[in-house]
């Protein structure tokens, strides 16, 4: 990995081949803490997704506002069979009830992910990763969007282009906090002490519906993320996230 500069030097003309993060321990693409928290997050996300799907199966109807049940009109219903007999799904069979362990797994994993996320957030702020690699500059963004719509591929870079930066920021500081917020807003105990949690999102059922859409958005991000890795070169990218170094 040639063409490295120290962070003190002025930025070169083309921001897309700017290599800002060069940890002192030679050509690391990802620091140890980022690699560890990345894979913990990956595992946690998988567990949350599987258990979350199972939770939706017990009641695949969604509502808006405070209340909603199988006797009231739904905002929408996912066309899948349910694990409860009284949810009218159009299927003439009922799936087995796996709600108990799914809930326990969901909440335990959420705890692990929150701790991991806090560690990650503190790290990216302290190490400068947030400022150097995630917060985009205005000029960079305009150039990246133009390039994007002209279907030009940015040059191979050791950092993220502005569109990637915006996406990562939206996921890290938008979708994940929204998941936590709406998750907490569904707890009858927490909303007793902190009613604004649920009032701010429009009610108990609104919180559940937002939680669902945020999870769909995160899953779409995951697909895009994996697709990008295939496009950028699966082996070197995955290797970089495991060892920290990219095969040159």
């Amino acid at each position: 990995m040639a063409n490295t500069i120290s962070p003190d030097e002025p930025r070169p003309a083309n921001p897309l081949c700017y290599h800002p993060e060069v940890p002192s321990s030679a050509n690391l693409r990802h620091t140890k803490l980022i690699r560890v928290t990345h894979w913990i997050t990956a595992l946690c996300f998988l567990a949350l997704l599987i258990s979350g799907i199972e939770l939706v199966i017990s009641h695949p109807r969604f509502y808006w506002g405070e209340d909603g049940n199988s006797m009231t009109p739904a905002l929408f219903q996912i066309p899948i069979p349910a694990s409860r007999p009284y949810v009218k799904t159009g299927y003439n069979y009922v799936l087995p009830d796996q709600n108990g362990w799914s809930r326990s797994l969901h909440f335990q994993t959420a705890w692990f992910l929150v701790f991991t996320g806090l560690l990650y957030a503190a790290h990216i702020v302290r190490s400068g990763h947030l400022k150097q690699n995630l917060l985009p500059a205005k000029a960079d963004l305009a150039q990246s969007i133009t390039q994007h719509f002209r279907f030009q591929r940015p040059e191979e870079a050791n950092t993220y282009n502005p569109l990637q930066r915006l996406t990562y920021l939206a996921v890290i500081f938008g979708l994940f906090p929204l998941m936590i917020w709406t998750g907490l807003a569904m707890s009858p105990s927490l909303t007793a002490a902190y009613p604004f949690l649920v009032d701010a999102v429009g009610g108990q059922q609104s919180a559940r519906t937002i939680h669902f859409f945020a999870s769909v958005s995160l899953t779409l991000f995951l697909f895009a993320h994996i697709l990008m890795i295939f496009l950028a070169g699966f082996k070197p990218r995955v290797q970089a996230m495991i060892t920290g170094q990219e095969q040159s």
Binding site: G68, T72, S187, Q204
Partner: protein
């Protein structure tokens, strides 16, 4: 292992050990703390107990009451239930025993003559659906006072006629919104909603709000009860 990471590891282990000791001291360890999900159960229970204190569940306006509240499940299959139902549940009793000064059986008339508390709260099922309804009944705290709860009691275990057993801690049991409810939306509780008696704990999810309530037992530990921890014991989340 480097010096700093060893130091971090030791500090971390000491932190976990210290937190566990404190949690034990303040009864923040739930009865289902063992097992693969014990870590999550304990974190949730301890955090919520510390964060919520004696806060009241949100209450709603009469106009917000759900027009068609969903009725889940079917009435108990015991023939006894049908006999009691035929007589308008006049003979229904609530037995209170365990760690109390005076074990007793309360009749429906007795319960209806006790101080009544009314709330319009949301019942949230762990499956995701919910409804808002008005509930009236005797605060469980009052029944515990009448029966003389002993200071070493840590849990209120309760039974329903459909052979279900649940338990809450004393904080939840003594909370002013925790009711032995005999009234729903201004009338007797319909059979589909657990009539004639239902334990209503609005800060807890549906499965702690047991229907067809027949018996309350105070205990220091849940070890000798046939508890079912298929769903996490603490249901504030």
């Amino acid at each position: 292992m480097s010096k700093t990471s060893r130091r971090n590891l030791i500090a971390g282990a000491a932190g976990v050990a210290g937190a566990t000791l404190l949690a034990k001291q303040y009864d923040l360890i739930p009865p289902d703390a063992a097992g693969i999900y014990g870590c999550g159960h304990t974190l949730t229970y301890a955090a919520q107990r510390l964060l919520i204190g004696s806060a009241n569940a949100r209450e709603f306006k009469p106009s917000q009451i759900t027009k068609v509240p969903h009725q889940k499940g079917s009435p108990p299959k015991a023939p006894e239930y049908r006999q009691l139902q035929a007589n308008g549940f006049k003979e229904w009793t609530l037995q209170v025993d365990g760690l109390v000064a005076s074990p007793a059986a309360f009749s429906m008339d007795q319960l209806k003559n006790y101080p009544k508390s009314t709330q319009i709260t949301q019942l949230i099922c762990e499956e995701g659906w919910s409804y808002i309804a008005e509930w009236s009944g005797v605060p469980l705290a009052h029944i515990l006072e009448v029966a003389g709860a002993q200071p070493n009691a840590k849990y209120v275990v309760y039974y329903s006629m459909d052979k279900r057993i649940e338990a809450i801690d004393m904080d939840e049991a003594r909370h002013p919104q925790t009711l032995v409810a005999h009234c729903m939306n201004g009338g007797d509780i319909p059979v589909g909603h657990g009539g004639p008696l239902r334990l209503r704990a609005p800060r807890q999810l549906g499965y702690k709000n047991r229907k067809f309530l027949t018996r309350i037992t105070l205990a220091e530990s849940l070890d000798n009860f046939p508890m079912n921890y298929k769903y996490s014991w603490y249901a504030g989340i």
